[in-house]
């Protein structure tokens, strides 16, 4: 293969036998300034966070009863300066913790945009 003139491997990722799964467990995306609050309003609804990216320098994830206010912190990370990309981190270890409360909250640095990808899950 290495000696075959003109051999070319396309850089475009191929969606193959996983396509059905990708569609079944469709990723949702949410973007907010400094904070994202996902309402846990449906009985049994859980969210699996698979990617987090922010132009700010910090991310905190937890649960709370009011949008934007975390009262039960489950994850935090701060670095000197943004942007902060935790996509690989949560790609390996999706945040799948659950609590019977009103919101799953992702907070970032003040005035900085934050984006998360998550999957809705019903056990």
């Amino acid at each position: 293969m290495a000696n075959l003139t003109g051999a070319y491997a396309g850089p475009v990722p191929i969606i193959s036998q996983n396509t059905a799964s990708i569609l079944k467990y469709r990723a949702n995306f949410a973007t907010g300034t400094a904070s994202i609050s996902l309402p846990l309003i449906k009985p049994g609804t859980r969210y699996i966070i698979t990617s987090v990216y922010t132009e700010g320098n910090e991310v905190t994830i937890g649960f709370g009863e009011s949008a934007g206010t975390i009262t039960d912190e489950r994850f935090t990370f701060t670095q000197t300066a943004g942007p902060l990309d935790l996509s690989l981190f949560f790609g390996n270890a999706p945040f799948s913790q659950y609590k019977n409360t009103d919101f799953l909250i992702i907070n970032g640095e003040v005035a900085k945009e934050i984006t998360v990808a998550y999957v809705e899950f019903k056990g």
Partner: protein
Amino acid sequence: MSSLPVISANTDAIMRHQAKFITSAADIVIFGTSETRQILLALKTTGASVGIGVGYIGELQIGIGDDSEDNFTGDLVNLPVLVNTVSVLIDDVVKGTDDGAGNITGATISAGTVDYSIGAVDVTFTAPPAQDEVITVTYTGFDVSSYRNIVGAAPLDLSGFLKNAPFSFYKENGGLIVSPEAGEETAIAYIEMRERE
């Protein structure tokens, strides 16, 4: 094979084996029971290097009092030794601790040092321990065979590396230790499984 991230057949497993998260600017030490194994899934630190391995809470007897000898030495075997985990005891009573900079201090210790890298301990008491009193050192250190110090550029993200190869070393009675550079914030994700699960 798709190179896209997929939540698919693994979704149920993700929910069943929920990842735990710890963030700290100091050493992270996780000891379960004797039959639990911690699997490190992801790691991100603001520093440029991090040590990972299985470790133990160790104990070494460095001497027995005879009313005359005031200096005792020994070599700790689980290396490197974690800073701020070294204690010197006489008959199970703590007489001194390390200061994180290689010095062992205490009211009844006139001089004391520990080399965290090679494990050498040297302690001199202000007065010789009494006849038959047992002098020991307790500490936390890495199992040498599992310890790896990974050096890169700050901020160091080992999540991609661990995606291919989760760190899952197991030693009976051992625990997972993650040792970042001093003062550098480090976040880890891990799951804990029973060894005979």
